[in-house]
C-alpha cells in the first residue's frame, strides 16, 4: 500500500495516527514525535536545544526556558512510548556550542532520559559536528527497518526516507481566518518530521523549499493539534 491516508484509529479522537511508510508501520503522535512499534524506536527532529542561549551569545537575550520546555515535552513522550531507541534527527542543538554549555539541570534531565536505552544524535546543519560532552552515538545517517533516516531530505533517495530540517507547517484557511500549525508531511514514500523544539517556527508546505519533494496527489499533512492529530490533504491547504 502506497497511500498516506490514516489506516486505523481506535480512539475517539486521533491522538496518534498510524500509517505505513515503505512497508513499515509508523505512528504520528500529536506531540510531534514518530514511533516505530516494531523496532520500538522513537524519532524526534529539530529539537534546537539551547536556542535561547544561542541567541544570547549574539546579544539577543531570548528567554532561557526553551531547553527545559523542550526536554520536559520529550520526557513525556519517552515515558508514554518507553522506546528502546531514541533517534534525534539533527539540529538537536541550535548551535554547535549548545551541548558544551548545556546547563547542569538540563544535562542531568537528558541523562536520565537516556538511561536504559540507545540514543542516536544525527548531525544537522546547526550541529554538524559530533556532540562530545553528552552521551549518545553521533551519526550522519542511520537505517531503521527499511527506512533511511537523515536530517535533510535527499534529492534522489526518497523511498522510505524520514527527514526533518524544513519544519513543515500546514496553513488552513476557513472563513477568512488562517491557522498555521506544525505537521508531519508524507506522501507514502517519504516523511518529513515537524520540528519539536519549543521556539522553532514552521514553514508552510506550499513554500518553494518543499517543491518537488512530494507527490502532491498523495500528500497529507498530519497536523499537530492541542490533543489530537488532524489529517489534512494537500488540496485543502493554502499558502
Amino acid at each position: 500500500m502506497n497511500m498516506a491516508s490514516p489506516v486505523t484509529s481506535n480512539q475517539e479522537t486521533l491522538c496518534s495516527l498510524a500509517t505505513e511508510l515503505n512497508g513499515v508501520n509508523v505512528v504520528c503522535d500529536f506531540r510531534g514525535v514518530l514511533y516505530l512499534p516494531n523496532s520500538k524506536t522513537l524519532i524526534v527532529s529539530d529539537l534546537h536545544l539551547e536556542k535561547g542561549a544561542a541567541f544570547a551569545r549574539r546579544g539577543l537575550l531570548h528567554p532561557p526556558y526553551d531547553t527545559s520546555q523542550t526536554l520536559d515535552k520529550l520526557h513525556q513522550c519517552i515515558d508514554y512510548f518507553a522506546p528502546q531507541t531514541v533517534i534525534s534527527l539533527g539540529d538537536s542543538f541550535h548551535d554547535q556550542l549548545g551541548s558544551e554549555f548545556l546547563p547542569e539541570k538540563a544535562r542531568s534531565q537528558l541523562k536520565h532520559m537516556q538511561t536504559g536505552r540507545d540514543w542516536i544524535w544525527i548531525s544537522g546543519n546547526h550541529d554538524p559536528k559530533p556532540h562530545k560532552s553528552i552521551e549518545g552515538d553521533c551519526m550522519e545517517e542511520v537505517t531503521c527497518e527499511t527506512l533511511q533516516l537523515r536530517h535533510e531530505p535527499s534529492d534522489d533517495d526518497k523511498i522510505g526516507e524520514i527527514s526533518g530540517h524544513l519544519h513543515p507547517a500546514a496553513v488552513i484557511t476557513r472563513r477568512g481566518k488562517s491557522v498555521r500549525r506544525a505537521c508531519f508531511a508524507t506522501d507514502g514514500n517519504r516523511l518529513i518530521m515537524p520540528s519539536f523544539g519549543a521556539t522553532t517556527g514552521g514553514l508552510s508546505l506550499k513554500h518553494k523549499a518543499f517543491k518537488g519533494l512530494f507527490d502532491t496527489k498523495n500528500l497529507f499533512a498530519h497536523v499537530l493539534g492541542k490533543e489530537q492529530i488532524y489529517p489534512i490533504s494537500w488540496s485543502k491547504m493554502r499558502g
Binding site: 542561549a53 539577543l60 537575550l61 528567554p63 481566518k177 521556539t199 514552521g202 514553514l203 499558502g239
Partner: protein, 834 residues
C-alpha cells in the same frame, strides 16, 4: 502680548518690510521669552506663521554672532529641529532657506534623516551645520555615539514641531529621554515646542523642561484660532444606511461637490475605505476629473507624484488617509470632505485645517456620515469644533521597552553610573514617576534579560565594571543597537508587484511596484482571489520571494474584502456628546428627518436611556436570545467588555454564543433566555456589570488572548529582545527569524511576571483594550442599568445586528477550523467516519 525689550536685528526688520509684512505679536513674544533664557510652548492654529516663530530666536542669535576668523574654533551645532515626519523636515528646509538667503545670513542648514547618505552623515558629525533638521530616531543615534558630548555641547535651541502629535506615542518617550541627555551635554539648552491646540497644554509645558518635582513648566504663548470654519453635514435625499462604513450612498453628492470646487481633499479613516471610495468615484467620474489616491501603503514614489501634482494644483481631488494629516503645505485646497465620522474632534479640526491654509479665511468642510449613528457623531463633532473643544488623549507614563532601548544607547555612548543615569531619566516628564527599583530592574533587563533563571551572566550585553560604571561588553552590541533603534514597528509587509498573465496561464516576472501589503492579509488569499489595492481590483497570483504578484482583472467587485488599516476609536469627548444628544429629544430637531424618525420610533417601541443610564435591551430572534447595550465608549472598550461579559455569562450557565462590538453598542447572544433571567433576578445586572470583572476575569482572559501576542512583539523589538525585520533584508528560503509568538508562549509559562510581560500588559491595557475607559464607564453606570425586555429587535439595535457575521473568528476558534478541515477530508475519504 507685551514685548517691550525684544531685540529684532535690523536686517530682520528690513526683510519683513521688504515683503510688506510685520512680525506677528506671537513671533515677537516667543523671541522675547527666548532672549530672556526661557523655554516656551507656542500654541497656534495652522497658517499662523508658527514655523518662522519657532526659528526666529535661533536665526536672530546666529545672525548676530561674531564672524568666525581663521584660527578660531569652528562653531558647532547651534539648533536642532525635530519633526515627526521626514517629509516635514524637507519641507521646512525649503521654507527656511528662502528668508536666510534673502537676508544673506551666513547660516548653514541641513537635514539628516534615514534617507541621508552615509558619507554626508559622517561629514555632519565632523563638520556640523548651524541648524540641523531631523527626526527623533536620528537624535538617539547621534547621542549613542562616543563623540556626542562634543557634538552637542554648544547646542542652544531645540525646536519640536507638531509637538502634540510627537508626545502621545512611544516615539515621544524616546524623544523625551533624548532631551534629558541633551540637557546634560548642553545645560543651558532652551526648548521651543510648536503645537496645535490641545486639551492640556500643561502636559506639553512639563514635557519641554527638566522635571524635579513634576511642577516645572515652560512658558506658554497661545494664538487664538483664526476665522471659524464653515462645516456642514452633507445634505442628501438618499437613504442613509443603518450600518457599514462605505458611505456609498452619498457618492453622487460627493462628486457634485468635487465638480463645484477647485481642489477637494477627501479624508477617510482607513486605507480600505480610501481604496473603496477612490474606486466608487472613478466609476461615476464621467468628466474624467483628475482624482488621485494617497495612503501609507502606496509606494513612496507614487505618493511623491501625487504630492507634486497637488502642489501644482493639477488635481481636482485627492482621497487620503491620515498620511496627509500633519501640517505639510499643499496647493489651494478649497474644500475638505470627511467621509465617515471623524472619531475625534481634534482630528477633525486638524484635517479641516488643510483647507484654505490661510489663517484669516474660513475653511470649508463637509462631513459625510456613513451610517445613522455617524450622523449623530458628525453632529456632535461639528458642535465641538465650533466651541473649540479638544480631545487629544492624555499623556501616558513612559514605556519600559523604550527606556530599555535608551539605556543601551547610553551605554554605547560611554560608560554610565546607574544613579546618574537614573537622575537624568526622571528629569524627562514621562518618566518622572519612575522608581529607582524599577529602573534597576530595567538596567538588569538590558544587561542579562532580567530573568529569574540567571544563566546569561556570561552573555551580558552591558556589565558593571570595577569602577562602578556599566559599559557594553563588546562593540558588536553598539552595532546591533544602531540597527534596531526606533519605536515604530511596521507589521511585516510584502511588496505588491503588478504582472501580466500570459495566455498559457503562466505569470510574467516584472512590472511596476504598486505598494506594500500586510503579510497576514495575504495569508488569507489563494491564487485567483481578487482584492482591492491601489485603486484597482487585482487578481492574486502568488508570492515569489518577498513579493506579492498580482495581475489586472476586469472583475468589478473584489472577492476578499479589503484589509483594515488603523481604525480610530470614538473619542471620549465625542461619545459623551452623542450620549447627550440621544437623551435630549429637543436636539433631534437638527438631525436629518430619517435619523430623527428612527430615534422617535425607538422611543415608542423601546425606550431612550436618561442621563448616565445604560440601556440594556433583550429580545429573542431565530432561536437565539440577544442582549444589546449602548455604552458609546468605542469599539476597543466594547470588545474588551464583550470578552469579559461572555466569560461571566458562561459561568452563570447562560450559554453565551458570541458577541459583536461597534463604536456605539455591544451585542451578545446566547442559547438561554437572557431577558427572562434578568427579569426574574436569576442574573442581576449589577452583578454582571460589576467592576470586579477588571480583576481576575481580565487577567484570565488576557493570558489566552492573541491581543497580547501582538503587543508583545512590539515591546520585544523596541526593547532589543528580538531583532527588527529590515524591509528587503529578510532571509530568503527557510525562516530563521524567531517568531515573537513562540517566545511569548515560553515566557508566559515560565516567568509571567517578567518585566517585558508587565510592559506588554500595560501597553495592551491602554491601547488595544482601552481598560481605563471601560472602568470609567462601569463606575458611571453603576446602579443605573435599565433593562428593557422586548419581543422584537428594537430600532436602535438594527445597526449592530447587521454587523453580526461580519466579524472574523477569533484566536480561540482555531482548533475548530482544523477540525472542520480534517472532517471534510474524513467524510470524503471514508464516507462513513464521523
Amino acid at each position: 502680548m507685551a514685548t517691550e525689550h525684544v531685540q529684532l536685528p535690523d536686517i530682520f526688520t528690513r526683510w519683513f518690510d521688504s515683503h510688506g509684512w510685520a512680525p506677528r505679536p506671537h513671533q515677537l513674544a516667543l523671541l522675547e521669552k527666548a532672549q530672556d533664557g526661557h523655554s516656551s510652548l507656542l500654541i497656534a492654529p495652522t497658517g499662523a506663521g508658527k514655523t518662522l516663530a519657532g526659528f526666529l530666536p535661533s536665526l536672530t542669535d546666529l545672525a548676530t554672532r561674531p564672524k568666525s576668523k581663521p584660527g578660531m574654533v569652528k562653531p558647532r551645532l547651534h539648533t536642532l529641529y525635530v519633526s515627526p515626519l521626514k517629509a516635514l523636515a524637507v519641507d521646512i528646509e525649503r521654507n527656511l532657506t528662502k528668508p536666510v538667503a534673502e537676508m544673506g545670513l551666513p547660516i548653514k542648514i541641513e537635514t539628516r534623516t534615514g534617507d541621508t547618505p552615509q558619507h554626508k552623515r559622517q561629514r555632519q558629525k565632523i563638520d556640523p551645520p548651524d541648524i540641523l533638521l531631523t527626526t527623533p530616531e536620528q537624535i538617539s543615534l547621534l547621542l549613542a555615539n562616543g563623540q556626542a558630548e562634543l557634538f552637542f555641547k554648544d547646542l542652544k535651541y531645540i525646536i519640536f514641531d507638531e509637538l502634540h502629535s510627537l508626545v502621545t506615542s512611544k516615539r515621544g518617550h524616546l524623544l523625551a529621554l533624548a532631551l534629558s541627555r541633551l540637557r546634560r551635554h548642553a545645560p543651558d539648552l532652551q526648548t521651543i515646542g510648536l503645537s496645535a491646540t490641545v486639551a492640556n497644554p500643561e502636559d506639553l509645558q512639563r514635557w519641554l523642561v527638566g522635571q524635579k518635582n513634576g511642577e516645572e513648566l515652560s512658558e506658554k504663548i497661545v494664538v487664538e484660532g483664526g476665522a471659524k470654519p464653515n462645516i456642514t453635514i452633507l445634505q442628501t435625499d438618499e437613504r442613509i444606511p443603518w450600518s457599514g462604513h462605505s458611505a456609498r450612498y452619498a457618492m453622487g453628492n460627493v462628486y457634485e461637490q468635487i465638480k463645484e470646487h477647485q481642489t477637494t481633499l477627501l479624508f477617510v479613516n482607513t486605507r480600505s475605505q480610501a481604496e473603496l471610495l477612490f474606486q466608487e468615484l472613478w466609476t461615476i467620474n464621467e468628466e474624467n476629473l483628475p482624482i488621485a489616491l494617497h495612503h501609507g501603503s502606496l509606494d513612496a514614489s507614487k505618493r511623491r507624484k501625487v504630492e507634486a501634482a497637488m502642489a501644482q494644483n493639477a488635481l481636482r481631488a485627492v482621497v487620503a488617509t491620515s498620511t496627509l494629516d500633519l501640517g505639510i503645505d499643499w496647493g489651494d485646497v478649497d474644500l475638505v470632505i470627511h467621509i465617515g465620522a471623524p472619531k475625534g474632534a481634534s482630528r477633525l479640526a486638524q484635517r479641516i485645517g488643510r483647507s484654505n491654509h490661510r489663517m484669516d479665511e474660513p475653511s470649508k468642510a463637509i462631513l459625510v456620515p456613513a451610517n445613522r449613528f455617524e450622523v449623530m457623531e458628525c453632529k456632535a463633532a461639528l458642535d465641538a469644533n465650533y466651541i473649540g473643544a479638544q480631545d487629544t488623549p492624555p499623556l501616558l507614563e513612559g514605556a519600559i521597552d523604550v527606556l530599555a532601548q535608551h539605556i543601551l544607547g547610553m551605554a554605547c555612548a560611554k560608560p554610565f553610573y546607574e544613579h546618574e543615569l537614573y537622575e537624568e531619566v526622571i528629569s524627562a516628564a514621562p518618566y518622572s514617576n519612575l522608581s529607582q527599583e524599577q529602573f534597576s530592574r530595567i538596567v538588569e533587563f538590558v544587561a542579562t534579560g532580567g530573568y529569574a533563571l540567571k544563566t546569561y551572566e556570561r552573555y551580558a550585553r552591558i556589565r558593571k565594571t570595577k569602577d562602578g560604571t556599566w559599559r557594553i561588553s563588546n562593540p558588536q552590541i553598539a552595532q546591533q543597537y544602531r540597527l534596531n533603534i526606533g519605536t515604530i514597528i511596521e507589521a511585516p509587509v510584502l511588496n505588491v508587484r503588478l504582472t501580466k498573465r500570459k495566455a498559457n496561464g503562466s505569470i510574467g516576472r516584472g512590472g511596476p511596484k504598486l505598494g506594500t501589503i500586510e503579510e497576514y492579509f495575504l495569508e488569507m488569499l489563494a491564487p485567483g482571489d481578487t482584492f482591492l489595492f491601489s485603486g484597482q481590483v487585482l487578481r492574486f497570483e502568488g508570492i515569489r520571494e518577498n513579493e506579492c504578484l498580482a495581475s489586472k482583472t476586469f472583475d468589478e467587485s473584489p472577492k476578499i474584502p479589503a484589509y483594515a488599516g488603523g481604525k480610530f476609536p470614538l473619542s471620549t469627548y465625542l461619545a459623551e456628546q452623542v450620549r447627550k444628544m440621544l437623551i435630549d429629544p429637543q436636539s433631534w430637531a437638527t438631525l436629518p428627518n430619517q435619523v430623527r424618525e428612527w430615534l422617535e420610533l425607538q422611543k415608542r417601541v423601546s425606550r431612550m436611556p436618561s442621563h448616565n443610564e445604560l440601556l440594556l435591551e433583550t429580545f429573542p430572534r431565530n432561536k437565539k436570545h440577544y442582549m444589546i447595550i449602548y455604552p458609546f465608549e468605542g469599539r476597543l472598550a466594547h470588545q474588551t467588555l464583550g470578552m469579559l461579559l461572555t466569560r461571566r455569562l458562561e459561568r452563570m450557565h447562560a450559554r453565551p454564543l458570541g458577541f459583536v462590538a461597534t463604536d456605539y453598542a455591544l451585542a451578545i447572544w446566547a442559547l438561554d433566555d437572557l431577558g427572562e433571567r434578568f427579569k426574574n433576578g436569576l442574573i442581576s445586572t449589577s452583578e454582571l456589570f460589576h467592576e470586579d470583572m477588571l480583576g481576575d476575569d481580565l487577567e484570565a482572559w488576557l493570558d489566552e488572548s492573541w491581543l497580547l501576542k501582538r503587543t508583545f512583539r512590539n515591546c520585544a523589538v523596541i526593547s532589543g529582545l528580538i531583532e527588527r525585520r529590515h524591509p528587503g533584508k529578510e532571509k530568503t528560503g527557510r525562516q530563521v527569524t524567531v517568531s515573537a509568538d513562540l517566545i511569548y508562549d515560553v515566557l508566559r509559562s515560565h516567568e509571567p511576571d517578567h518585566i517585558l510581560m508587565q510592559a506588554t500588559r500595560a501597553d495592551a491595557a491602554t491601547g488595544l483594550l482601552d481598560i481605563r475607559r471601560l472602568s470609567d464607564m462601569l463606575l458611571r453606570i453603576k446602579g443605573r442599568i435599565v433593562h428593557q425586555k422586548l419581543d422584537h429587535i428594537s430600532p436602535l439595535a438594527v445597526p449592530i445586528m447587521l454587523e453580526i457575521g461580519r466579524e472574523p473568528v477569533n484566536g480561540e476558534a482555531q482548533e475548530s477550523i482544523l477540525l472542520e478541515a480534517a472532517e471534510e477530508f474524513l467524510s470524503e475519504a471514508t464516507g462513513h467516519l464521523k
